[in-house]
């Protein structure tokens, strides 16, 4: 797993538009080549979508829309996108295939998962 740093709205900049455009197929593995960034929105103490599928090398960006701070933290604590104050983004690039379950470390009832598939479809 590549290191993660919360990024500001300004730094996130242009990438957000592309990320949002890619989320229309959230929950499905995209077939085309290259790495991509998928956006997960945090609203009303819920990750939306809560389950996504990506390919190895893709990134996931979480954006917090709540007034309360949140994180997106691996259950095994190997990665952590946070803390995220309202309007902030945090990004993780996934290099290991498999199901990566996560939660908000501040509000553990908030949970989600990222299913990372091999680029060959495995």
């Amino acid at each position: 797993m590549r290191g993660l740093t919360p990024i500001t709205r300004r730094r996130f900049g242009q990438g957000l538009g592309a990320a949002i455009a890619l989320t229309e197929a959230a929950g499905r593995t995209r077939a085309h080549a290259g790495t991509h960034e998928v956006a997960v929105r945090i609203d009303d103490f819920t990750f939306m979508p809560s389950k996504i599928e990506i390919l190895v090398g893709d990134s996931v960006t979480w954006e917090n829309g709540d007034v309360a701070p949140h994180t997106a933290t691996a259950l095994d604590r190997t990665w952590d996108a946070g803390p995220l104050e309202r309007g902030a983004h945090g990004r993780v690039t996934f290099t290991e295939p498999g199901e990566h379950r996560y939660l908000c470390a501040f509000h553990p009832h908030m949970q989600g998962s990222v299913l990372v598939r091999h680029r060959d479809g495995g």
Partner: protein
């Protein structure tokens, strides 16, 4: 529920009665803003007390969440009132909350160990239950300024999450009996 918890629950009930009675009186936007901010600040004070006394991981994590979340909500409230260039108004309900919280803190400070943990957790559950009911049924319907209504609605989502968290904390501490 043991005698100590019964005593604390009774104290909370009295405070709740006071809050509920006052909440039935008409309040203007500035009074509602003051009370909402005050309630958040009081819960932060409870949380600091918990961090000073409790050795329970569950209680300490909850307290840290209360400080983090209520600070964020209150910061947003300050930003809003600054933007609107208004001054929240102190009122009877805010004063009742402050007085009730002072009495409750005095009780809590005499406790330690599981007795403190259970008393704090039970108080947090009751506090969030009554605050959430008041915000949902009295404050939000009464507020006339849209940005304040929006903030209260956002805050209520947060406070309801706290109420559920408090329920789990109370259950996990196995205080009953």
């Amino acid at each position: 529920m043991n005698t100590l918890c019964k005593s604390l629950a009774l104290g909370m009930a009295i405070a709740v009665s006071t809050v509920a009675a006052n909440a039935n009186e008409p309040m203007n936007d500035l009074e509602i803003a003051h009370t909402a901010y005050t309630a958040g600040g009081l819960d932060i004070r409870y949380a600091h007390l918990a961090l000073a006394i409790s050795e329970s991981d569950a209680v300490r994590e909850f307290a840290q969440t209360m400080i983090r979340d209520h600070s964020a909500v209150n910061d947003a409230a300050v930003a809003l009132i600054t933007k609107l260039d208004v001054t929240p108004q102190d009122n009877a309900l805010s004063q009742a909350l402050v007085e009730g919280a002072a009495a409750k803190r005095a009780e809590l400070m005499t406790l330690s160990g599981k007795a403190f943990d259970c008393a704090y957790a039970t108080n947090e559950l009751g506090y969030h239950q009554i605050v959430n009911k008041t915000v949902a049924e009295s404050f939000i319907p009464a507020v006339t300024v849209e940005p304040l209504k929006n903030l209260l609605e956002e805050a209520l989502v947060t406070f309801r999450a706290h109420e559920k968290h408090a329920e789990h904390m109370v259950a996990g501490l196995k205080c009953a009996g």
